[in-house]
Every structure is written in C-alpha cells, then in structure tokens.
C-alpha cells in the first residue's frame, strides 16, 4: 500500500499542538479553587483561633473536673458533667432516631405506593420538618414531653427532643441512599424467588449502608451541637454531677460553653474556648467515622 504525502496546505490547518488555554476554562477553574480556599480558610481560622484562645486550659482538667460558677474555683474547673451529659444524650438520641428514621425511610421507599395522596403528604411533611428552627423543637419538648408526658428535665426528654429534630435528616438521607441502589439488583433478587422483605434486608439495605451511615452521623453531629432546644429543657442549670440514668438531670457541652461565655471574667472565657475545641474535636471524630464507614463499605462495591 503506497502512502501519499499530505499536501502542505492541509497539514498547516491541522495543528494538534496545545493552543493557548482558553480563558473561560481557566477563569472557571480559578473561581472554583477560590471558593474552596475561602471555605477552607474559614474553617481553619476558626479552629486555629479556638485553639489559640483556649490553649491555657486545654489539659486534663477539662474532663476530670466539674464546672463551677465561682471565680475562686476557676482553676480547678472543668466540664466533666457536660462531657458525660453529652455522651448520655447523644447515645439515647441515636438509639431513638436511627431505627425509627431508617424504618420510616425503608417503608416510604420500598413499600409505600407513591401515587397515593397521603403518602405524598407525608413526604412533604417530612421535608418541611427538616427546616423547622430548633428552638421550636425545644418548645415542643418542653410542652409535650417534659410537661405533657411528665418526663421532666431529664436525659430522656433531651434525647426524644433531639431525635425528633434530626429525624427528618435521617429519613431523607436514608431515602436517597436506598434510591441509589440500582433497580436491577432488586429485579435479580425477585427473579430468584426472594420476598420483598428478603430483598430489602439482604440486598437493598447492605448496598445502601454508605449513604445511610453518612447521613446518620451527619444528623448526630448536628444534634450534638444543638444548644437552643436544650436551653428550654433544663440543661442550663448548674449541674455538678454526671448523669446516672435516663431519668437524671444533665447538661451538655454546647450549654456549658454558653454558660461559661455568659460569665464576665476572662478565665471563664478561656475555659469556654477550650470546651469549644473539645466539641469541635468530637464532631471531627464523628465525621471521620462517617467517612471511614462509607469508604469501608464502598470498597466492597
């Protein structure tokens, strides 16, 4: 086969060398990077500022000592009751909102008939609830749970209130995760003679775990940082003991931070900053756990 040489005219018009970078592409890329840097800068400056301010008090006193409202005792003050209170409340919140939210999401996605009007109303309601201000949940908790059910200002009241607060987030993120499971998996399972429940339990839910885990932990991260609803539920009284049951009084880290900031002296503020660093640390660990779980389950797929 003979090769013909390309005429010079044609060769000149076909230039494959890199052109000058198109300005629009470059500008867009730089704009995206700028946005990322700004967000990152805010976060980093917050953490750095907090650490800088709370540095003198970032030591074991934080978790070995109880809070105080007296300036004379500030050197031996910590936030132990708040730490344990937070752990108790978050554990109880998770125990309430996770099973309920996941079950509700499974029902809405797999079992409910979307064409029925009441199911669509339900869906609309849940999405609206996700946007309700948290103080409203506080009032709800005060009126209905603390006073109405007579549960008082206890760990369980806080847990129920916070669970209600974050339930829409759990439901919505679990629904998204379930929706992301390809339908071909369900069809393959049905074709083998599996029932709906078997398909849901053995195929859909395991495949949805990354999304569910991420959503759940984000929901709990939000719950752990809520101060407004708990202000109305008795967490701001000076609590100098750790909770010893679901029916005991409690306080949480965000509330203690608030109390410390309210005090006039600078030493209290330092302690507040230290507690803020602790709280940020806990939230960071929880989010890392979410990412870890998600990655671990995604590698399987």
């Amino acid at each position: 086969m003979t090769t013909t040489t390309v005429p010079a005219r044609a060769a000149a018009s076909v230039s494959l060398r890199k052109q000058r970078t198109r300005p629009a592409d470059l500008a867009f890329k730089l704009a995206l990077q700028a946005c990322l840097l700004i967000a990152f800068a805010f976060l980093v400056s917050l953490i750095v500022f907090a650490v800088y301010q709370g540095w003198p008090r970032l030591d074991s006193r934080l978790w070995t000592d109880m809070p105080t409202s007296r300036i004379s005792r500030i050197d031996t003050a910590g936030v132990q009751s708040a730490i344990f209170g937070t752990i108790w409340v978050i554990t109880a919140t998770a125990a309430i909102c996770l099973p309920t939210g996941i079950a509700a999401a499974v029902y809405l996605e797999e079992y409910a008939d979307n064409t029925r009007w009441y199911n669509r109303l339900l869906e609309l309601n849940i999405q609206n609830l996700a946007g309700v201000p948290s103080i409203v949940y506080g009032i709800l908790g005060l009126g209905v749970i603390a006073r109405g059910f007579g549960l008082g200002f206890t760990v369980i009241t806080a847990a129920i209130t916070l669970a209600l607060l974050v339930l829409p987030i759990v439901i919505i993120s679990t629904r998204e995760a379930i929706r992301a499971v390809p339908n071909s998996i369900r069809q393959g399972s049905y074709a083998l003679g599996a029932t709906k429940w078997q398909t849901t339990r053995r195929q859909v839910l395991p495949a949805a775990i990354p999304g569910m885990a991420t959503g759940s932990i984000l929901a709990l991260s939000r719950a752990i940082g809520e101060a407004a609803p708990l202000l109305l539920l008795g967490a701001s009284t000076t609590i100098l003991f750790n909770p010893d049951g679901l029916d005991s009084s409690y306080t949480t880290l965000p509330i203690q931070i608030f109390n410390l900031i309210k005090q006039p002296s600078e030493e209290f503020h330092q302690l507040a900053w230290a507690a803020i660093v602790l709280l940020l640390g806990i939230v960071l660990i929880m989010n890392s756990a979410a990412i870890f779980i998600r990655n671990k389950f995604q590698k399987r797929i």
């Binding site: 998996i185 069809q187 393959g188 049905y190 083998l192 003679g193 599996a194 053995r202 399987r300 797929i301």
Partner: protein, 296 residues
C-alpha cells in the same frame, strides 16, 4: 431455483425468479429436531398484556415444550419481553400491568388468585439482558438464591461449585470465590447470573436477550451453554438476533408490531412453529419478510 441461462433466441422465456435469501441454520447436526407434538410445560392461551389502558401485546398462543429451547423473535417493541416477563410474574412489579387470557404451568393457571408469585419464581428463573450480579462475593451471589428459598444445607460449597461448573465458570473463578462479583468481565458476569439462576434448581429458565450486551466470543460461549442446559432445563429466550434463534432454538415464535389508526404500537404473535420450519418455509409473509431482512 437455479439460475437458468437465458437463451438469446428464446424471446418468450419468462424472467428467472431470484432465489429468496434464506437465513442459514448452520451446523446444528447435534441438535435433534423437536417432535411435532409439543410436550407442553407452559401453555399460553389467547393472552393479551396491558399496561394500564395500553395494550402492549395481543393474540399470543404458544406452548413451551419440555426440555426444549423456545425463541421469541421479532422487531423492537412487539411485546416479546413483555410476554416473557409474564411467565414468572415479573410483570407484577410493574404498576398497572394486567394479563388477559390464560397462562398455565403444568396445567395450573399462573394468575389464579391463590397462586404465590414467589413460588412461581422459584420454579421459573430469569436471566436479564444486562448482567446484574449482586454487589457481593461470587460465592454469596450463587448462595443467595438457595438461602432465600430456605434451603438449609451443610453443603453450600458443593452447591456453589456445581452451579458454577454447569455454567462453565468454575475454572475461571474457583480461586477467587470470595472476591467481588463486580470485578468479573461482562461475559463472566452473565455466566454468573446463569449459575445463580440454576442454583435454585428451577424447571424453566427465561432469558431476556442474554447476549445482547456481550461480545461475540462471550455470546458463543453462552450459546454453547444453552445447548448443555437444555438437557435439564426448559429454556425460553428472547432475542433480537435471528441467527442466534436459528442456531439455538427448537421452536420459534415470531412477533410483530402493528400500528393502529391512533398511531400506537401493539405487538402480536404472528407465527409459532419449529425453528426449521420458520426459517425455511414460514407460513406468514410477515415472517418471511423479517427472516429475509426486508424489514426489522
């Protein structure tokens, strides 16, 4: 009819008729010709399938023979997959799907009110067009069917090995049973899906265009597999590929799509006969046109 040379002196000779370009069946000498009388496992009597008010396919009359391979062929949109999905009640999963007429399996009406679709699907399995292995290990993929069917066995390992061997996949995966099924190639995944289906030991296997997403070599392997499987299972295959139907099946049903005066397409069964008949001497002109490639 042979091409006769035209004698220039014979002015009145009529023009030579060109031979019809028939599809060659190929070398199927090892495949015996099915008996004229069908030993029916599934009988389809005057069935139409509706999606809501829309009639997707009408006038289906078929018998599926025991241990035979029956092919459903025809152009797109003529209801072949719809009919296939009726056999294992997968159309139940489509909102608004309705079946009129009778489909019987060993004499039992599949759509009777007291029939459990789960039980139907345990006896009539399905392989889909696009391979859909579960996001689990190869072992768990095969074991899933027996497990959900409540088969308690200490010999799950043997069952898995048997299924994979029958699907001609064992040698390729025996060292990596615990690895993800999604790491396999397309052809391997489809054979895995076939192994998964036969692990449940159904009587009938439905295959909805099982090779359309695969390359020719993988396709050929699966066609060989079908011949093997037909010894123990009854197979119904939907295929767009006429040559595949000719190579593989004992009987063929040809569907077509008709457009009514409103412009809607409705599928209907045109002809159902032994494959050798359909491809050499079809009764209906529409069948002949499709076979010879004049349309579709």
């Amino acid at each position: 009819m042979a091409n006769a040379p035209i004698n220039p002196t014979d002015v009145g000779t009529p023009p030579v008729e060109q031979p019809v370009n028939k599809v060659t069946i190929g070398d199927v000498s090892d495949r015996r010709e099915p008996p004229a009388e069908i030993d029916a496992v599934i009988e389809v009597e005057d069935v139409s399938v509706y999606y809501g008010a829309y009639e997707a396919v009408r006038g289906v009359n078929l018998q599926i023979g025991y241990n035979e391979i029956t092919a459903l062929i025809g152009p797109s949109g003529c209801g072949k997959s719809t009919v296939l999905r009726c056999f294992n009640r997968m159309n139940d999963l489509v909102v608004g799907a309705r079946v009129k007429g009778r489909i019987t399996y060993h004499g039992n009406d599949l759509y009777r009110a007291d029939i459990d679709p789960i039980e139907v699907r345990r006896r009539i399995g399905m392989v889909f067009q696009k391979p859909n292995p579960f996001p689990k290990s190869i072992y768990d993929n095969i074991a899933y069917g027996p497990r959900v069917n409540g088969l308690k066995t200490k010999n799950m390992d043997d069952l898995v090995e048997q299924a994979l061997t029958r699907a001609a996949l064992w040698d390729e995966v025996k060292d990596k049973l615990k690895e993800s099924a999604l790491a396999l190639s397309g052809g391997q995944q489809q054979r895995l899906c076939i192994a998964r289906t036969i692990a449940v030991q159904p009587e009938v296997i439905l295959m909805d265009e099982p090779c359309s997403a695969l390359d020719p070599i993988a396709t050929a392997r699966i066609e060989d597999l079908m011949h093997e499987l037909a010894r123990d299972f009854t197979i119904i295959i939907v295929t767009h590929n006429m040559q595949q139907a000719a190579r593989v099946s004992d009987r063929t049903a040809f569907f077509t799509a008709e457009v009514d005066d409103k412009g809607e397409r409705h599928g209907r069964l045109v002809e159902f006969d032994r494959t050798s008949q359909i491809f050499t001497n079809p009764n209906d002109k529409r069948t002949e046109d499709y076979i010879t490639g004049r349309f579709g």
